[in-house]
């Protein structure tokens, strides 16, 4: 049994190392004006759906739920990365949530790395190519495949860290289903995400680390600085 204070110490050290390596910044979500605005937008979208449902009920039309989080849940339950800034809920700073940070930070900082490296998207500048393709993933198969690629890589990173901490393998179908629901991922994107996860799982099952920079850097740091946590946290 690893003490929560030790887990918090390791999470703080990993966070500092990942930020220094990838040029990322970690902020508290509830303190961010941008994320409070996004939370308000989620509430407004749900409120709009409720009003539409009320009107539609007069003609016996069922308006489906949007599948979006409430504003409060967006702020308190999700880590979110925009450009080089990772926003984490304040509650995750508590020692009893240090494990969440250990698993989520390498995943989110990997998105910072993807943003900073950019991608070949024709005439679009590399500085915005990752973000624009990500946002377009609900509109085109090409962009959906990009989202499947980058999320597949980062869920592979999460899986590698979780297994290093002692967790059992998480079924790839469960991850892909989560991506479909959370990102409204088109079938082409889901196919790429599943193929990507199968490759990373094969590497992990063979005793390796996914060929994702954030996974390699995070696990090398954990091996060097927290060998006591290996297989002893999520078992």
């Amino acid at each position: 049994m690893i003490a929560p204070a030790r887990l918090a110490e390791v999470a703080d050290g990993l966070e500092a190392h990942l930020c220094a390596t990838f040029g990322a910044e970690v902020v508290t979500k509830e303190d961010s004006a941008l994320h409070r605005t996004i939370a308000a937008a989620f509430d407004a979208a749900e409120s709009g759906r409720d009003k539409a449902a009320e009107l539609a009920s007069f003609i016996s039309l069922d308006v489906p739920a949007l599948g979006l989080p409430t504003g409060a849940r967006y702020l308190s339950d999700y880590g979110t990365t925009i450009a080089s800034t990772v926003a984490l809920p304040r509650a995750w700073r508590a020692p009893d949530r240090a494990v969440t940070r250990l698993v989520v930070l390498p995943h989110e900082v990997g998105h910072v790395d993807q943003h900073r490296r950019g991608v070949d998207a024709g005439w679009w500048p590399k500085a915005v190519s990752h973000s624009v393709l990500y946002l377009c993933s609900i509109a085109t198969d090409d962009a959906a495949e990009y989202l499947g690629h980058v999320e597949g890589d980062q869920y592979g990173t999460s899986e590698a860290v979780s297994r290093w901490l002692g967790a059992k393998p998480r079924p790839t179908a469960e991850v892909v289903d989560e991506l479909r629901r959370h990102y409204a991922l088109r079938p082409a994107g889901a196919t790429v995400a599943e193929a990507t996860l199968r490759s990373h799982y094969a590497t992990i099952d063979d005793g390796g680390v996914p060929n994702v920079r954030s996974a390699r850097v995070a696990l090398a740091w954990l091996e060097a600085n927290a060998p006591d946590l290996r297989g002893a946290v999520l078992a």
Binding site: D153, V192, S199, R213
Partner: protein
């Protein structure tokens, strides 16, 4: 007044283009992710020590963001066709 007309028309055209073009691009211009073509969707491959997958749009899609050698491994195809980063073969020495 007649002399002003072409100037106003020109300014109107500039304003229209400066508004309409960016808005139009924003609404319709999702970028294409530039990748090499591949013939058979669903098939994995190793290219320059890097696992790849032929996506549904018939474009060769990288898996991961670096070559397998970065973590001391080598790209290989598993028996079921999945490309991954396998243990690098060790030199057994020579007699």
């Amino acid at each position: 007044m007649r002399r002003l007309y072409p100037v106003r028309a020109f300014l109107a055209l500039i304003v229209a283009l400066s508004v309409v073009v960016p808005v139009g691009a924003a609404l319709t211009g999702c970028p294409d992710w530039q990748r090499p073509e591949c013939p058979t969707p669903g098939v994995y491959s190793c290219v320059n020590d890097w696992p790849q997958f032929c996506a549904p749009t018939k474009e060769r899609t990288p898996i991961g963001d670096e070559v397998c050698a970065a973590s001391g491994r080598v790209c290989a195809l598993r028996a079921d066709g999945v490309a991954y980063c396998a243990r690098a073969a060790t030199d057994g020495g020579a007699l």
